[in-house]
Amino acid sequence: MTFLGTFALWTALLVGLWGAVVAFSGRWQWQPALERSVTRSVYAVWFAVAVAAFALWRGLFAHDFNIEYVWAYTARNLPDVFIATAFWAGQKGSLLLWALVLTLFASLAQFLTPRRYAPLLPYVAGVTQAVAVFFIVVMLFAANPFERLAFTPLDGRGLNPQLQHPGMIIHPPMLYLGYISFTIPFAFAVAALLSRRLDTGWIFAIRKWSLVSWLFLSAGITIGMWWAYVELGWGGYWAWDPVENASLLPWLTMTAFLHSVMIQEKRGMLKRWNLTLVVATFLLTIFGTFLTRSGVIASVHSFTQSPVGWYFLGFLVVAGTFAYTLLHTRWPELAPEAELESMLSREAAFLFNNLLLVGVAFSVLWGTMFPIISELVQGTKLTVGPPFFNRVNVPLGLLLLGLTGIGPLIAWRRASRANLKRQFTLPLGAGLLALVASLVAGMRELYPVVTVGLAGFVGAAIVQEFGRGVRARMRMYGDSLITALARLVGRNRRRYGGYIVHVGILCYCVAFAGMAFRTDLEATLKPGESVSLASPFGHTWTFTHTGVSQYKDANRYVSQAALRLDREGEDLGLLTSEKRQHFTLEDGVEVKSFEASTEVGLRSDLREDVYVVFEGVVNGTEEAQYRFTINPLVWWVWFGGLVLVVGGLITMWPGGGGPVAPARRALAADARPAGAQPAEALSDA
């Protein structure tokens, strides 16, 4: 199997090189056979990488511990589902997964892109092949998943118990899907620049791709938060760790792009900015991988135990230089077709939204890189932690939240006084009401109060939009409320799907504000003893320790501590938290694998989570150490994630609500600078 895998990777490397070289040479423009060859090379590389992936899975399921990767991440007593997901438990397998998904997306891009964008496709193939070649080179020369050991161990080391969790089955692939799918928008941007087809065509070709990418990344980050929350046991879901920041950075620039692209579609502005955002987002996905793989930030001995980080840094430099040069040479051709007419316009709101998102991204990048920056500048390492990120980003985030309400309400081009009055009266009133209500309820902290006020404003703005649309349909077509709502969303998927995404974001923001009121308590309890903790909502929780039980499961020993939960005299049953010690079998003897891990006890409702961590027993008795935390509103993070995904899916669902913009663009054709072609003309070329 390792021979098959390595052979498949080499085949993929050579075919990918061929595709990239031919595509960038441009000779296919005169030789249709070469153009077909480029397209087919994309499918061929995907097939070869799929064969390699099959080989690795085969090795994992066959318990071929002679393969170093199989030995390092699985064991005989590991459940099947985790054997399958051990594929991406380590760096080498992750690279293979990356290559597999990348080549799949590259093939889909060739296969699914409408014919009118065909002139861009060979360049797109060239870019995706070049990126695929990079990943295959890294595998073959630095991190080969098919590397064999000098001998065959009887059993593997097993999978890290913290990775034996449903969140970890889906979190990494989701993030990868988000990262990798953005290669396609980047490839189209490069294709547009190379072919000088710099009209809005490429923007339409990648609309779905950038949404897919954004959706996967959003879901991946949220699932990662959930995993960290329930599995790592420190009581929160976001710690501003470099690894987390690395995934947030491309999300921020991608979010900015999804908004600013609408201005280019409508008004022909921001071409340079949009291209820059696409390039920046792609580079940040690579940068994120570099950051997490190289250990440059996490480890004090900075540069790398493994050379893989260096490969990524090299690729980052090459891709960045290439994209910069390309943008630089095409800069004059990217002049805007229109100017900003008024500060009271949707364009201006979107521009500020972009500035803030990029500002947040910059501060997160700066804070993450600060140990390196300060060492270079001052010679001493300084770090900044969550207090820094919260100080900088909470005010910026609140401004963004405000714009979430303003953007959809304000008119394009120039808002009239009548428009402002008609659109803003109700939402502003609702926001003010929410603000006063939060103060009356006894909230005094500045940021949470402002968050509640803004949430009222944004929520009311979205409800007003839906309400007006539904009422209009009911009046015009005599639809019932439900039909009107369904048709309204169905016929304008992008607009109303976008609003639903905003509702999701609103849930996140309120939940984040809730974390300002978390309380915790540490206690050591003998069986029968109780401890009380006041909830920020005013009631009191009482926890009674009932005892510790021990048992053995398939691949672990478990110590389970149980508590009786009581809220203001109401008995809410038992809550358990566990310490698990995993083991593997060597010659029939159980051998401890990994350190003990904690299973959090969690009781969640719409208001608050009771989060209990069992830390261990005192001297082998049943006296247990606990940490109790009340986390307000956490449920709303996961709910917000769900709403966001639903909204995102509506936005990108194929069919109705498709691009109306080309028609608009045709109307504006006389305003187009000489040399640019409308998107439709591409198919005739």
């Binding site: 390092a72 050991l149 250990g295 910059f362 770090t383 350190e595 005192v618």
Partner: protein
């Protein structure tokens, strides 16, 4: 005034605000990140480094040095980067990854007291997704 100019002014205000927030943030929340050896040379040169909040990394738990008192949740151990050893005193919960079984890398936050003991307010040990480097190292030795 043209809208474009007004926008540029607005953009300038936002950029300045971001910059100001970042400078203030670094000034008020930034902490030194040192190895034990670096910390030793800092305090030798400037005694104000005693009692100053710092983060110490690049250190490992000295195997066998961990003393836990379960009832009071007090944990004492020694950390070393191979040259400089500091005793660490910590009260609270440590992550699962923190043991003295094999060489565990720790990052501690707190201050070095004048008694030569590092009083930690936070103890971090290497987290799950970063196990790999060590695993691969081990694999190569196996």
């Amino acid at each position: 005034m043209k809208a474009g100019t007004r926008f540029l002014i607005g953009a300038g205000v936002i950029a300045a605000a971001v910059a100001w927030l970042m400078v203030q943030g670094v000034r008020e929340t930034g902490v030194f990140y040192l190895t034990p050896t670096e910390l030793a040379s800092k305090v030798a040169a400037d005694s104000s480094f005693y009692d100053l909040g710092v983060k110490v990394g690049g250190a490992k738990v000295v195997p066998g040095s961990v003393v836990r008192d379960a009832a009071s949740r007090q944990i004492d151990f020694r950390m070393s980067d191979g040259q400089q050893v500091y005793p660490v005193s910590y009260r609270g919960l440590v992550p699962d990854t923190f043991t003295d079984a094999s060489d565990i890398e720790v990052i501690v936050e707190g201050h070095l007291g004048r008694d030569g003991v590092f009083h930690a307010t936070e103890v971090l040990a290497k987290c799950g997704s970063r196990y790999e480097a060590a695993a691969e190292e081990e694999a190569r030795r196996a």
